[in-house]
């Protein structure tokens, strides 16, 4: 009896300390992750702040970090800048009425009826008072300078058309690679993997030559950006094929015995089980088209009305000069991919991995 009690108390003690240790560990781990993410993502809030910052605040070395303007006071129809003036009664926020070299005249915004106050000292040493003033001017300016709606429409169109092509052929090819006994298909598949690794720099010039006026004359059209996708994309084929291979063959064998042809099996057996990976692939392609700058720069440079969003915004670098407006551009360019990612995170992220691991 005695022994029992002793043991149970010891057990209780260790359980308590264990729980304490557990709690501390959990708290530390989550805190670490939290701090890491704050540091990791810190450029993003800065970008958001910058996009709301009034013009020229960056040039003002004394200005605070948050979007703000100099506080003004309207006196007799004139906007006077408010300064932080040290006086015998402590610092006062006074509006500068008449600057002078040795002494200046101020108005007290709290009590304008009192009239002009003279302050001895150089007003240039005074610091202006700022008030919080987030502004949407940068967005307005950005929309005015750029052809954002047009670029957006173009990007969506190109994305949709090429999406159809890339999905149709990549699915068909992946199905071919995953289900048919073709002599030497292992080596053909290795060839496909090899094309993933070939730097785009190597094929850039000959492809450009192919699309240029010397051969196809497709420059200034969307064709160079769309047509290649109708032949499938190696990396997407790879993802799809890995997934198709993981689907058990029993079902398609059963369907085959029931007289279903290969196309029928693909449509009614393979695809219904592959909705997540097909969505993943479709999203990857969408991100690719949205972010794409090199092709659109090369082939659409001569056709501004067909230009796409990423290139348009990036080119705008030379047109909308202020850093604040650049931030608006950055925000606009990334908003759609990030939004799409968050909406589709559930299976997008999960499926991207499962398919790749098997090599």
């Amino acid at each position: 009896m005695k022994f029992n009690r002793k043991r149970s108390s010891a057990e209780g003690h260790s359980r308590l300390s264990l729980r304490l240790w557990d709690f501390t560990g959990t708290a530390l781990l989550n805190l670490f992750m939290f701090l890491f993410l704050i540091a990791y993502l810190s450029p993003l809030p800065f970008m958001a702040i910058a996009s709301l910052t009034p013009k020229n605040q960056f040039l003002d070395a004394n200005a605070p970090i948050l979007p703000s303007t100099r506080m003004k006071f309207n006196y007799e129809g004139k906007d006077l800048i408010v300064y932080d003036v040290p006086t015998e009664d402590g610092a006062k926020h006074w509006a500068l009425y008449k600057p002078g070299r040795k002494s200046s005249q101020f108005i007290d915004p709290q009590n304008p009826q009192a009239g002009v106050i003279t302050w001895e000292g150089s007003w240039r040493t005074l610091k202006a008072v700022y008030e919080l003033a987030p502004t949407l001017d940068n967005f307005r300016e950005f929309l005015g300078v750029t052809k954002l709606p047009l670029w957006f429409k173009n990007t969506i169109l190109v994305a949709l058309i090429s999406e159809v092509g890339v999905l149709f052929s990549s699915i068909a090819v992946a199905y071919g690679f995953s289900r048919f006994r073709i002599p030497g298909i292992k080596y053909i598949f290795l060839l496909l993997i090899a094309t993933i690794m070939i730097p785009s720099n190597i094929t850039l010039v000959p492809t450009y030559y192919l699309f240029s006026g010397h051969m196809l004359n497709w420059i200034g059209t969307w064709l160079p950006l769309i047509v290649p996708h109708f032949f499938g994309s190696a990396i997407l084929i790879f993802l799809l094929r890995q997934n198709f291979k993981s689907i058990p063959r029993d079902l398609d064998e059963a369907a085959m015995l029931d007289g279903a042809g290969p196309l029928r099996i693909l449509i009614s057996i393979i695809l219904p089980q592959s909705v997540p990976v097909v969505t993943t692939v479709a999203l990857l392609h969408f991100f690719y088209i949205w972010n794409e700058t090199r092709m659109s720069g090369l082939y659409l440079g001569v056709a501004p009305n067909l230009q796409m969003i990423s290139f348009g915004i990036q080119r705008g670098q030379s047109f909308f000069f202020t850093p604040e407006a650049l931030m608006v551009g950055a925000l606009v360019a990334m908003a759609v991919p990030v939004l799409v990612l968050f909406l589709s995170q559930r299976f997008f992220m999960q499926d991207m991995i499962v398919t790749q691991i098997e090599k």
Binding site: M47, F180, R181, I196, I313, A330
Partner: protein, 307 residues
């Protein structure tokens, strides 16, 4: 026994099976035809053309004056100190970013396997998110955050302001860990719990478990991530393409090639340079694959059902 033998002989389906296989192969070819055609037209022929270009003094504007110059473009590379320096700079950049990306992703993935971490799904998306931000935005965000870093950290500490794009390199690398992180995280998740349990029973602490259980078990994923990162670094296709920053490349060699290509429109030499880069990359990749035998624990080869 004899009966079995006889029946087997009686239903010899060899001939029809062969035609069936032939038919299957024909249908298979039909399905992979789009890629095969695309491969020939948009990959194989351009690659061959690039090889031919690299042996000529091809100019885009006047293709008819092209003449064969043999290997002189390649010989020119060996005398071109600027190209050599660019290639060296690119290599050292990859030597920095590829391991940086890998290690940060690996550590994060290890932390994520802990059951103590809350809101994993959301955190995972946040970490992944930075990898899909277009290059267009990254560049501006980087420039903007430099200004804020200057304001908040460097000016108060009386340090000289940050200059140039040196920091963009590690910054971009850190913001590209998404796919690698996901790959390694899911590999870690799929390590059977019994192995950890056995290691724990044998007295292995958390670090010993990580180094002697987790790392070997996920080494195929680490290898895969390395190959993906390397491919991406050298300009191959990547899972998440964020596009290019115009007029500015993270890889000095790429910038040099682009300059030769577009500004000087010396396409023959540019092609030769691209081939040299590719050769270097392939050497590295082959080296990586060779070394894989020593540190990657591939799961036992299961028969890939004839494909």
């Amino acid at each position: 026994m004899a009966v079995t033998y006889q029946t087997r002989k009686a239903v010899d389906v060899k001939a029809p099976k062969r035609t069936r296989l032939q038919q299957e192969a024909r249908i298979g070819w039909l399905f992979i035809a789009p890629w095969v055609i695309g491969f020939i037209l948009l990959k194989a022929l351009p690659i061959l053309a690039a090889l031919v270009f690299s042996l000529t003094d091809f100019q885009m504007l006047s293709p008819e004056t092209t003449s064969f110059v043999g290997l002189s473009n390649y010989i020119r590379f060996f005398g071109d100190t600027e190209a050599g320096a660019s290639l060296f700079a690119s290599l050292s950049y990859f030597l920095l970013t590829v391991p940086l990306e890998l290690i940060v992703a690996l550590v994060l993935a290890a932390i994520f396997t802990s059951e103590r971490l809350r809101n994993k799904g959301f955190l995972r998306t946040l970490i992944f998110m930075t990898s899909i931000i277009p290059a267009t935005s990254i560049f501006f965000i980087f420039l903007g955050s430099l200004q804020y870093a200057d304001r908040l950290i460097f000016q108060p500490l009386n340090l000289p302001p940050l200059q140039g794009f040196g920091l963009l390199v590690p910054f971009m690398a850190l913001w590209s860990i998404g796919p690698g992180f996901l790959i390694m995280y899911s590999a870690m998740e799929s390590v059977p719990g019994e192995i950890y349990e056995a290691a724990r029973v044998d007295g292995a602490g958390p670090f010993a478990r990580f180094f002697y259980v987790t790392l070997p078990m996920v080494s195929p994923a680490i290898f895969f991530t390395l190959v993906v990162n390397l491919t991406g670094a050298f300009g191959g296709a990547v899972l998440l393409d964020r596009g290019y920053i115009l007029n500015f490349s993270l890889s000095p060699m790429e910038e040099y090639i682009n300059n030769t290509m577009f500004t000087q429109s010396d396409l023959g030499y540019a092609s030769a340079l691209a081939w040299v880069t590719f050769a270097v990359m392939m050497t590295l990749t082959i080296f990586l694959f060779r070394s894989a035998k020593n540190w990657v624990h591939f799961p036992e080869e299961h028969d890939d059902n004839e494909i």
